[in-house]
């Protein structure tokens, strides 16, 4: 999918330049794009190092675990099929916490563990269970407390207030999570009515 999009963007651009006579701009764009990307990544190092360092302290101090306990009553309602003492619940909660704090890399293994446990709950079937779909819906509309990467990019391009988007991002991601939950429930009831 992404391969095709990537090739199409480049090839259409080149063909368009032939017709439009913008070849010299395209020549320049190739090298400008590449150097822009590297400069950006180098610029991102500072904030990523700082933030992930902070998050590591939070994790070691058990802060993320405590937060997970706080959210447990809400999350229990979202997953009626998962017994609250089941390991799946723990993994689901830790994955959500990791996503919230922008620890994408830490979130992935936790998410996979959560899926494994949900599969066990579903008798090892290779079909997606109701809880799995709910988990995925919440995950993809990720409630974000600190959009680390975005703040880093805004700093790099000298924003007057790089963190001003924290509040709006939180509001937008909570709205989309609520939307995701409603959509997920709708599809679930539709399935149960059918079969």
């Amino acid at each position: 999918m992404i391969n095709i999009i990537w090739v199409l963007m480049t090839v259409i651009g080149i063909v368009f330049a032939m017709i439009n006579g913008t070849m010299d701009q395209v020549n320049e764009a190739v090298f400008k794009g590449a150097s822009e990307a590297v400069t950006l990544c180098i610029g991102l190092i500072s904030i990523l190092v700082f933030w992930l360092g902070m998050m590591k302290i939070a994790e070691d101090a058990g802060l993320l675990k405590r937060l997970a306990l706080l959210f447990k009553p809400i999350v229990k309602r979202l997953f009626p099929e998962v017994p609250s003492e089941h390991p799946a619940m723990g993994y689901i909660l830790s994955n959500m916490m990791a996503n919230m704090f922008g620890l994408g890399n830490a979130a992935t293994p936790l998410g996979i563990k959560a899926m494994e446990e949900l599969k066990n709950l579903n008798g090892g079937s290779n079909e997606a269970s109701r809880s799995m779909i709910t988990f995925l819906a919440i995950n993809t509309s990720s409630i974000t407390l600190i959009p680390t990467m975005v703040i880093a990019i805004r700093m790099k391009y000298e924003s007057v207030s790089p963190t001003e988007i924290v509040g709006p991002t939180l509001i937008a991601s909570i709205s989309s999570a609520l939307g995701a939950i409603i959509i997920d429930r709708y599809f679930y009831y539709r399935r149960t009515r059918k079969g």
Binding site: I12, A17, N20, Y157, P168, T169
Partner: protein, 177 residues
């Protein structure tokens, strides 16, 4: 709306202070933990270089040739009718498909229009408030061998659509056009 900006401004410094005090209180070797976590940051920043180089070259070729502008003009009437800035359209489409491509587009939009412009802010919020549905679906389900995905993709993509609409509404309300 003043409150939202105020919270945005205070939130991170207060959080940093809180984490440090809490960690010290819990007898965590704070500095060592910090360094340990920071190493991850370098890894991430360096490992996304090839993704971003590939993506930003494609985007800047597409933009420099004039193809992007042509596409924007083509879809402008339809999008403006529903209040979506056409500049943000490619990002909305790519966000659920590829994380690195979306990151490239977001940084390109912020670089082009400025981080404090309406488009720049919208791109920031859009990038932060939804995740890469296809990636999460592929990795999570692939790792545990789920073959029948049921409604998962439909639900995920519809949730992304809600996220995009939410981002546009929130940014318009808080910052104005």
């Amino acid at each position: 709306m003043q409150i939202v900006s105020m919270i945005s401004l205070w939130f991170i410094p207060v959080l940093i202070g809180f984490i440090l005090i809490y960690g010290t209180f819990k007898r965590i070797p704070t500095y060592e933990s910090f360094v340990e976590g920071g190493k991850e940051g370098i890894k991430i920043a360096v490992s996304i270089i090839p993704f971003l180089v590939g993506m930003l070259v494609a985007i800047s070729v597409f933009r420099a040739s004039g193809a992007l502008e042509y596409l924007n003009e083509l879809i402008r009437p339809a999008l403006e009718a529903i209040g979506v800035p056409p500049e943000i359209f490619p990002l909305s489409i790519i966000r659920p498909i590829s994380g690195s491509a979306a990151l490239g587009m977001t940084s390109d939009l912020i670089a082009t229009y400025g981080p404090d412009s309406f488009i720049g802010r919208l791109a920031s919020v859009l990038q932060g408030s939804t995740d890469t549905t296809f990636y999460v679906l592929t990795v999570y389900f692939g790792a545990v061998g789920i073959r029948k995905m049921g409604d998962a993709l439909k639900v995920g993509l519809l949730a992304d659509l809600v996220g995009i609409i939410a981002a546009i509404v929130v940014v318009t309300l808080i910052f104005g056009i």
